[in-house]
């Protein structure tokens, strides 16, 4: 049937292309299933099962090919790139401030963290030091975003494993944080807030009070509720506690960062190790996976780290809000350069985004556009260890593993 359609047919509009086309059936040079898998060598019980890209619990458009023996997964092949938007190519064609809206779209669940990393990288290239007031505002926004992002991560993780109610409770609180963002800069998801050398809008009058109100409810209600409803649930513990165990060596070799690394028991956090934006002034703890229900580094531990991190972020927020009220208000656009034209050179800057270390490698040739921007996305590296962790698992545990790594496909595919 396909071979009957030839390029000489007039088509819907009588349009003939200038270049000849190949035969319709022979166009695609994509490898066939038999080239990717040894189909002849498959056991009678083995099957190749396709999962995604529209599977609800692959957190976006991730496609997995599973070689299964009954319910056991013997091998996994990952296919990413369904959301590729040529971020790095776009960056070369816009000026430095023009990249910021694109960075928001990398990790659309935690946009503040992405744009903060880029702004800090370019500031390092330019040699700009932000005023303390701007730093405090940035920290407040980054930590609010961390809570909001972990709310989605933990909530959807519960939903993946069959618990629907905690998701609603957490989204309720995320909604309050998004309201605060909307009040500040007008946007609810993609903010364009962290500019090079400053932020786009100062926090409005009464922001600290509204933020404290939100935190009070979050700390008194949502967080204990979450721990009681979801984390302490026997079914949840059984589904996650001994699944997807990642040793610290494996985590470092595959560059797992953020909550995924801390879940393996290593207390490494860039906000502590290499503080930026004045994080050294705040008193907070770095939670690690303790293995309270099984081996250290399991899905439970990674998720538990996120849960504790939410309350640690709330701790930072209380201190930052106190600082915000004590500090004298300065113009948040004071250090924003009129024309961003960094000297020749390159810089690699990493910051602690909610999903791990987000690195920007920015190369400047002295022009107004960046010569090259490379993003080291934490989700990309977290996904690259997937084939190791998932070996020998049940199919149902694959869902638990994807959710515990907390990937956002917008950042993987860029």
């Amino acid at each position: 049937m396909a071979s009957e359609v030839s390029h000489s047919s007039s088509g819907a509009a009588g349009f003939t292309p200038a270049e000849p086309r190949g035969a319709w059936g022979a166009r695609r040079s994509a490898p066939k299933l038999s080239e990717r898998w040894d189909l002849e060598g498959l056991d009678v019980d083995e099957m190749i099962v396709n999962m995604g890209p529209q599977h609800p619990s692959t957190h976006g458009v991730l496609r997995l090919e599973l070689k299964t023996d009954g319910e056991i997964v013997k091998a996994v092949r990952l296919h990413i790139g369904y959301l590729h938007r040529c971020f790095e190519k776009h960056c070369e064609n816009v000026d430095y401030p023009g990249v910021i809206p694109y960075t928001d779209r990398l990790d659309y669940v935690a946009s503040m963290g992405c744009s903060l990393g880029y702004a800090l990288a370019v500031e390092k290239l330019l040699g700009i030091e932000c005023p303390p007031y701007v730093n405090v505002v940035r920290v407040i926004m980054a930590e609010l975003q961390r809570i909001a992002s972990h709310c989605v991560a933990v909530g959807t993780y519960g939903m993946d494993l069959g618990a629907f109610t905690p998701f609603l409770h957490l989204l309720r609180d995320r909604e309050k944080i998004l309201d605060l963002f909307e009040w500040t800069c007008g946007a609810r998801l993609l903010y364009n807030y962290n500019w090079i050398g400053g932020v786009s809008h100062d926090v409005p009058e009464g922001f600290a009070r509204a933020c404290r109100n939100m935190l009070r409810e979050f700390e008194a209600m949502t967080h204990p509720e979450l721990v009681e409803l979801l984390i302490g649930n026997k079914i949840f513990v059984k589904r996650t506690a001994e699944v997807g165990v990642c040793s610290p060596e494996l985590a470092i070799s595959y560059d797992l960062t953020g909550p995924n690394l801390r879940g393996s028991g290593l207390p490494r956090d860039l906000r502590k190790d290499h503080p930026y934006s004045g994080y050294e002034q705040y008193d907070f703890a770095v939670p690690v996976g303790t293995g309270q229900y099984g081996p250290v580094g399991s899905c439970f531990d990674r998720n538990w780290v996120r849960v504790v991190e939410m309350s640690e972020s709330a701790k930072i927020l209380h201190q930052a809000l106190d600082k915000l009220e004590q500090l004298e208000k300065t113009d948040v656009h004071e250090k924003v350069p009129k024309r961003v034209k960094p000297p020749k050179g390159d810089v690699y800057f990493r910051s602690e985004a909610p999903r791990g270390q987000l690195g920007y490698y920015v190369v400047s040739d002295g022009g107004v556009n960046p010569y090259r921007v490379k993003v080291k996305s934490p989700c990309f590296t977290a996904m690259s260890v997937f084939h190791v962790l998932s070996r020998g698992m049940y199919i149902a545990d694959i869902i638990a593993l994807i959710g515990s790594l907390d990937v956002v496909l917008g950042e993987i595919d860029r």
Binding site: R28, I80, V347
Partner: protein, 173 residues
Amino acid sequence: MFEEKAVDPWAVVKPEAIAEVATFCKGEPALGFDNLMCLSVVDYPKETPPRLEVVYHLYSYSHDHTFVLKVHLPREDPRVPSVEHTWGVANWHEREAFDLFGVVFEGHSDLRRILLPDDWQGHPLRKDWVDPDFYNGMRVKPTPQMAERYAAGEVIGVGPFEFTPPNLPIEER
């Protein structure tokens, strides 16, 4: 050549030596670079000689220090040994570099495209990349003639696809 501002200490390594240097950097206790933070490629077509630069950002969790390795490759047929066996994460980073820049990593276990479709032609992050007019025989860029005909009100299809709106009654489809 760019007067590169040394933010991190860096060194240029010969392409054929990179796998050994990587193993040494990881294995030597005083260095202890157990983590590859980032692997990126930068294209410099206007330098003499034109080159692709593969940049390895290393980090040591035990000593908390960083180092940068750079490898200069020719733009035609760039080949460099893979460091996948030293740092597991290099597997995907190298696939991405192959996909977007066409750098071939020798000894890589599974060097396929990762972000772009398998049937994509060319390596788009190179500086001399020109957007293709066709993808798999389908025109993806409108020609000036097409734009004129479109302005005149003609409906322009995409060749063999025949699009019928789904809400029409069956006899009109």
